[in-house]
């Protein structure tokens, strides 16, 4: 602000250790003010979701025998891959143990997500928008923004963890101990902390916020997948994942312990140091790689709005497709290990007859279902590109040429529709190839791809909702995330968290035929496609009618 009023002494302060952190306090206050709604929503939402799950267990499974049934079900390999193994198999399956066993990982993933998204929002996204430059030019140390963001985000994660601990601890549900509640909650909080620091590292590598959060989420995906492999195969691989460390406190079991949390603290500290080193190496707004020169003229592909949309979005779509294919391959490759595990507990076979479907079929349904929900994420991101192009003022010059609003929007929409379809099919392909190789049965490949393809209409409903919001109420575009979030928490995981089956009907993902375990039903697919089309048309019509928003 006021270099003019600075005294000469102030200008020649030696560059000491603390100098790089000047202004951290101001930045913290600024970030808290900016997120005065977002942060409380995350904290309260996480607390409500976990305590809600605990009380629904108490209501739905009052008898020990009910819970033993669940314990048996949770031994199914698909469940082990999804939520982790039962870390106290010989103890009575109390509500507390069940809660710790089934919910910890999933809630942990949400904490990690929060850590990544909040951190990038306050750092790399600000730099990309050029606002960080303005802030950094005032009296603010080089590390102040990163430090402040770490304090705010880690603080948020820990407060959320603490609130979960206290409300779970105070629930008085059987098997829940205060000590266990603290291990559970602080484990979650530390997962949030670790992934905020992962984001602190990825934020130094690339100059784009999207890329930075993408990389951090890829680390999260890998951490989740690698422990699935370890848990199903009962080997050391789980220990490669920080998600597993936090769970190794074994909350609500007889031998619960706190030391694994130390591993998380150490990892976070190491990542902070790495991030600090990397950030010393780069300029504000830049990535680690120096920018390269490109072509002086545009290729013929770049001659239409569709060409532009493809060019802008292709790397993101390709990254998602590769990401889902690799993620899927982890689970595909477990198909025989899981089958073996299943055989060992053959008592289950009678109990879980799967209505005629084979075990492998159920495995495919479970994990292609996860991929299907995940594929809605790039679909919505692709529609959000319309909005970011518009508000950044990059749509304006294009729309001032002979390109109509509708054609411009339709080109990004084409990328969203084709891209998301491609992502889920390629994800299914990755799963299927791995399953076919692992299970020595090429039939798995076709089954997996078909199971993935039937998700396309449901994903397109998410695209449709996003486009409708974009055209009609652009400020509310974020609401489109309700589809994957609801799909994941209620449809995909709902059974684990005691959500009623009827809640599935509200989501497009609740209507996807569960191939290959069920027969292919065309009607729901057609209905969803029609809904998607109607939403898209409404959105395009709304967009044509409204003003273009620019900064």
């Amino acid at each position: 602000m006021s270099t003019a009023t600075m005294t000469p002494e102030a200008r020649t302060i030696p560059a000491g250790r603390g100098h790089a952190f000047v202004g951290t306090g101001t930045m913290i206050r600024f970030m808290l003010r900016r997120d005065r709604i977002r942060i409380p929503v995350w904290i309260l939402g996480l607390t409500a979701y976990t305590t809600g799950a605990l009380s629904s267990y108490e209501q739905n499974y009052p008898e020990a025998s009910d819970r033993e049934t669940i314990a048996d079900m949770a031994d199914l390999p698909a469940m082990v891959a999804m939520v982790g193994n039962n870390y106290a198999p010989d103890e009575p399956y109390t509500h507390g143990l069940m809660f710790g066993h089934v919910t910890f990982l999933i809630v942990g993933v949400i904490f990690a997500l929060m850590g990544v998204l909040l951190f990038i929002r306050h750092t790399r996204a600000e730099e990309e928008a050029g606002r960080a430059e303005l802030i950094r030019s005032s009296v603010l140390g080089r590390h102040a923004q990163t430090t402040a963001a770490l304090i705010v985000v880690c603080g948020t994660a820990l407060v959320a963890g603490l609130l979960v601990s206290m409300s779970v601890g105070a629930s008085g549900v059987d098997g829940v101990t205060m000590g266990g509640a603290y291990l559970y909650g602080m484990g979650l909080g530390l997962i949030g902390v670790v992934f905020a620091t992962v984001a602190a590292v990825t934020a130094q590598i690339t100059e784009y916020a999207r890329g930075a959060s993408g990389m951090a989420l890829a680390v999260l995906g890998a951490a989740y997948a690698v422990r699935s492999v370890g848990d199903v195969g009962e080997n050391f691989l789980s220990w490669l994942s920080p998600l597993h460390w936090a769970r190794e406190t074994r909350p609500f079991s007889d031998d619960q312990r706190a030391w694994p949390l130390l591993l998380l603290v150490v990892l976070a500290a190491v990542l902070i140091v790495v991030a600090g080193r990397l950030s010393d190496k780069r300029d504000v707004g830049a990535g680690l790689r120096p920018p390269r020169l490109g072509s002086a003229t545009a290729s013929p592909l770049l001659s239409s709005p569709l060409g532009l949309a493809v060019r802008l979005q292709r790397s993101s779509v390709i990254a998602w497709a590769v990401g889902l294919a690799v993620f899927g391959a982890f689970y595909g490759a477990l198909i025989s290990a899981a089958d073996e595990m299943f055989d060992q507990i053959s008592a289950l076979e009678d109990m879980w007859a799967f209505e005629g479907a084979s075990f492998a079929d159920r495995w495919i349904v479970s994990f292609i279902g996860m991929l299907g929900v995940l594929a809605a994420v790039p679909a919505i991101l692709a529609v959000q590109r319309l909005r970011s192009e518009e508000t950044a003022g990059r749509a304006e010059p294009v729309l001032a040429t002979a390109v109509s609003q509708t054609r411009w929007a339709a080109s990004h929409l084409t990328v969203a529709l084709a891209g998301s379809a491609g992502v889920i099919v390629i994800g299914g392909f990755g799963f299927g190839i791995a399953a076919a190789i692992d299970g020595r049965d090429i039939g798995y490949l076709g089954d997996s791809v078909a199971a993935a393809a039937v998700f396309i209409p449901a994903i397109w409903v998410a695209v449709g909702l996003a486009v409708a919001l974009y055209g009609l109420v652009p400020r509310a575009l974020g609401l489109a995330w309700i589809i994957p979030v609801y799909g994941f928490l209620v449809v995909y995981l709902g059974d684990l968290f005691g959500v009623d089956q009827s809640a599935h009907n509200l989501s497009p993902f609740g209507h996807v035929p569960e191939l290959p375990a069920e027969d292919l039903e065309i009607a729901p697919l057609l209905i969803m496609a029609v809904i998607a089309a109607v939403l898209i048309l409404a959105g395009l019509a709304g967009f044509r009618r409204r003003d273009l928003h620019s900064t």
Partner: protein, 314 residues
């Protein structure tokens, strides 16, 4: 001559803000029209309406004989636009952006493209986000000028260009004019407007307060007179049409309305004039009159205590 831009009584509101309040704007074909006014006056809003990016609440607007909202695509083949604040695609080079925008408009002239890039000293191989502000602006200017169009709409096109590039820009605009291109030029650089524009419109709080050729405007306004005289100024000070009268040891300075110039000079000639300087108002003086009035009774009356929101945002 036919009319290239014809706007009558256009109103545009954003929530509580009345950005355009019955705006009239007329630009003849082949002329370069300066569009001036203080920050937040509504220049960019007018331009966005002309481009069909915003929909006017009421009023008539026609552009090259068509309706800017309904016939947008058709009209856009015949015009090129330079935004005031250029944000390029981070992963496209400047050259790619120029080609893309040109092709979307229906093609560009490769010779002219090459010449523009050369004269503007632009490196087309850099990625969008690595350009400096002035160079980003150049990309948009080259993209617009490289096409053969009938109408150029430019919103502060040279904000951020260095003086050398400013003259290059003026050369190209002169060239475009010679080819019969119509130009609507919104600008805060008065020297540029004075040099390039045939006619100007001054907009304030969403209304055009003055419009016409610079000559006409000068005539309507006051001439500044400075003289050294040997006698007491006497009656001069109290004459009709004389303003801002000042006198210090033998020098008088005053402004006089165009319609009273004759009388004032007659009076002055009787006072023993030893030296005399009279000049018509510069554009700057013309403008400051409008800008100044606004400060007097406009926004400063409702100063926003937070100072964070833009003019008229509350």
């Amino acid at each position: 001559m036919t009319t290239a831009i014809d706007v009558t009584g256009v109103v545009k509101t954003f929530g509580q803000t009345r950005a355009l309040n019955g705006l009239n704007l007329h630009v003849e074909q082949g002329e370069i029209h300066g569009f001036l006014g203080p920050n937040g006056a509504g220049k960019s809003t007018t331009i966005r309406i002309l481009l069909g990016l915003l929909k006017a609440d009421s009023g008539e607007a026609s552009l090259l004989g068509g309706d800017p909202w309904r016939d947008a695509v058709h009209l856009h083949r015949r015009l090129a636009y330079v935004p005031g604040d250029v944000d390029l695609w981070p992963n496209l080079t400047g050259g790619e952006a120029i080609d893309l925008l040109g092709r979307l408009r229906g093609g560009l002239d490769p010779d002219r493209r090459r010449r523009l890039i050369e004269r503007f000293d632009l490196d087309p191989t850099k990625k969008g986000r690595t350009y400096s502000k002035g160079n980003r602006q150049k990309v948009a200017i080259v993209a617009a000028l490289a096409s053969n169009v009938e109408l150029l709409i430019m919103d502060e096109p040279t904000a951020g260009l260095d003086p050398l590039m400013e003259t290059v820009f003026q050369d190209f605009i002169a060239e475009a004019k010679a080819e019969g291109t119509t130009v609507l030029l919104s600008s805060h650089i008065l020297a540029q407007v004075e040099k390039l524009c045939d006619t100007i419109s001054i907009i304030r709080q969403g209304e055009v307060v003055q419009s016409g050729s610079l000559e006409e405007m000068r005539h309507l306004t006051r001439t500044t007179v400075q003289a050294e005289i040997s006698e007491a100024a006497g009656a001069l000070e109290s004459m009709d049409g004389v303003h801002d009268f000042r006198q210090e040891d033998g020098r008088v300075t005053f402004a006089v309305d165009g319609s009273h110039l004759d009388g004032a000079v007659r009076q002055l000639s009787q006072l023993g004039v030893r030296s005399l300087v009279a000049h018509p108002p510069t554009l700057e003086e013309l403008m400051l009159r409008h800008y100044g009035d606004e400060l007097g009774n406009g926004e400063s009356a409702h100063v926003d205590p937070h100072g964070a929101t833009g003019p008229g945002a509350n």
